[in-house]
Symmetry: C4
């Protein structure tokens, strides 16, 4: 790659890459600013703080917004295809992270939307070159992707189950219990109960209702095993696949552990320079 | 199969099959109507809405009921064996989905039973030809079936445990705590606690009661591992079996392990160059 | 075994064995009586029922107690070694199931202890010859036994963790929050929270307390994975062992599925009469 | 090892080793004292007991502190490298276990910190030579270590998810519901809900809030499967590795798979007739 130090290319190097010292520093400062700005947005919503330091929050918010706007413009300028960047998930998040402040000039109270800035932290994976974490994330997402059909089917049945339970409890508890005054609210209770969350804001009062609730809870106890079983099995499969990417050059059998130096089937020395991590 | 376009056969094609364009459209419209009708039934039970739009709900309900009645009659007419269809699970659900409205002429308040219409959505699997989802559902149900004896034994022990815990807590908390005023209610508390739902409507007040409750909770923490472990193991076994889709060329049975060289059913040598991933 | 129809031997056959028709009938009637007596004991503790039907409950309880006493005496009489039976777990449960009624002559209110009768239902496994359930129970108990050291270590750490969390929350929330007024009560809260039961009878009120509670909850989210992982792994191992009890007579390799007819490694016919269930 | 019975060496033998009778007795007495002292610290915080037995607690606490101080000094004296011991985790815990009482002369109320003494119980593993428990602990910690990157990534996503959910619920429920009056408090609710703890101190009141909460709970139901799946897979892998205790006769390293014929570390042929179960 030819290197001419035009401003555009230098900016791209600093902003989009993390190989150079300047690029790394830029990324770390940016992460720090993102975290800080999210904390400020959160604190601003606490009534006691909001009343006392209203003007400070206002100033700090515009400070962050101006910085992130400059960064966004620089990204648009330095990237080869501005449209492609603007439409990418990261580009959209970058834009949404600054828009609410400008909107707040016209619409009051929209600043709190700024909390979506937290999603910008997803860059952390690219920045810190955390290969092991990236790899771990890939294993998880692969396992989840492999089990997406099973989880969808499971969710479909749970949704139907919750609606039927809600309707039944509406009949049993409904007349006397204000918590079960409509089917949608009874469904809300069924979700709270079946997922073992159990807020306790709505509880059955009649003996029959408590008996049915007991059945629902024990059912929920068993049902929680299903998604866990699905993901566990996929995770175990991903784990098995992951440790067996290296085949012996002599007998061409694989399935060797990460720390294996010799083939466990024929005793031949395994290829040392192959990176299996 | 000979094809004569009698009305009966055309109806069967549209209503029971999803291969033709008309059949697909019919199914999609039906699913939409089912979903809509369930939402209407739910909304009707919300007191505020019920009071204001009582007459609208009444009209909409009869509208859906008439449509579903026509559909049911057409199904009975077009199917080869009406009795067999009427007795099948889907046939019964179809009937139960329309009966409550007619019953409401004689018995007030029975409309809410219409929520069972949601079960008609189970047709969705057949309609959308979602092979992958159907297959995922089969893996789950196979794993659950394979573990049904273990889960039954587990439930049997949990039931006994819950009764004993309830009786003990009745003695410890009973006299002073209205939440533990009888053994059945104490058992209800034990279920709420052991399943980690924890509504909080009944809680131990005495130090001894809180200590025993702590033991129960930690026990529940360990016990929840059992059904999960059962289902996980079966799911992993199902997964192991499922990933080998290689069929024997001789007896055309599949289900061979990854490392199998000979067919386990007929002893024929398996095709070695077939890709089994 | 020689068979002389002395009364003692006939009684033993009926009471302790379930092979003959009379023995089976005896067991079923006994199970029914046990279930009924437990239900009666439970209902008796409901204040409304207790007040109205006090005398009925009294009569029914003595009825069951007399029957079970006769049964106990007959067991002692017909068994070969009465002392051994009396000291066995089942013998002790049988005795404890009748004692409270006699005690109630001297000590009021001890009847509710009769609920331990529910443990007599454990005989159900022997009676109904439910081989598959018995086998399922053995797999579970083997997996639990194999993981007992790991679970003990886990419990040890959880206990220490809960004490430390309780002490920290006592400092943070203690002064102003009556729910955290002592370390033991704060430990009770820590157990309620870490096990994800979450009654809500005691909740943190200060921002710092809520922040620490959030950390505890997320920790609990991860910790619940440990016992599940332990039991899952053991259950999977038990599952693997269970399907691999049959070795090929020709190549002596095992690991064949339950439904395998031919060895998957050498194609040799597997021994058909070996029972692998 | 040469043995000269100087005081220093005898002390070391008694305090740091558990081979001799004296050493074992010392350790058991020490464990008992630690447990007792922790119980006393806990009881002291109960207001009713504190008021009545204030002076007794004061005396008992100094009694334990003096004993543990003498023990600490003896450890420093008898160990070969006092600095290394003082800086080790056990050394620090030993020091922190006595400091609060001395601090309480200057700062009131710091005694409750003494509860950290419970951590001294971690010595229990060394003392009771519970090899099986130690080994079980190692399996667990190895599985957790192997999955630490995946769990970190999972925690990272859960943290972001919880912040976004908190912000959304702040908008939906915030204005009318005092429980959602600020984003940090809404995040606290999101943690309580997503982890299925469900205190119920803060609950959504609006229909839209209850609907969103239902989605969050069902999401939490699926998310809890992820850490469990991660740990289960690692535990299963650790289990698979662990069941092969066969060590290579050449390099004496173990950890070979069941089907290994050659040592994976040095390539030496493994002993075939060794039993690997």
């Amino acid at each position: 790659m030819r290197k001419n130090n035009s401003l555009k290319e230098r900016l791209h190097e600093i902003i989009f890459e993390a190989d150079t010292k300047a690029g790394k520093l830029f990324d770390l400062v940016l992460l720090g600013l993102i975290l800080l700005s999210v904390v400020v947005v959160m604190l601003e919503t606490i009534p006691a703080l909001h009343e006392r330091y209203f003007e400070w929050f206002y100033a700090v918010e515009w400070f962050f917004t101006v910085i992130f706007t400059v960064e966004y413009v620089m990204r648009l300028y330095s990237v080869q295809s501005p449209v492609k960047y603007a439409r990418s998930p990261f580009g959209l998040i970058d834009l949404i992270s600054i828009l609410p402040t400008y909107l707040s000039i016209f619409v009051a109270g929209s600043q709190a939307l700024l909390v979506v800035r937290i999603l910008r932290l997803l860059r952390i994976f690219r920045i810190l070159r955390m290969g092991r974490f990236l790899w771990a994330g890939q294993v998880i997402s692969k396992a989840l992707q492999a089990s997406r059909h099973k989880i969808a089917v499971f969710m479909f049945f749970v949704t139907q189950l919750v609606i039927v339970i809600g309707a039944v409890m509406y009949f049993v508890e409904g007349p006397g219990n204000p918590g079960f005054s409509s089917i949608p609210q009874s469904i809300y209770w069924a979700v709270v109960t079946l997922t073992t969350v159990g807020f306790g804001d709505i509880t059955p009062q009649t003996p029959l209702g408590q008996f049915l609730a007991s059945l629902v809870m024990i059912m929920g106890y068993g049902i929680i095993a299903v998604p866990t079983g699905i993901v566990s099995a996929e995770m175990a499969a991903a784990h098995r696949r992951q440790i067996t990417t290296q085949a012996c050059r002599h007998c061409s059998l694989d399935g060797h552990d990460d720390d294996a130096v010799f083939c466990k089937y024929c005793g031949w020395k395994l290829n040392e320079d192959s990176d299996t991590t």
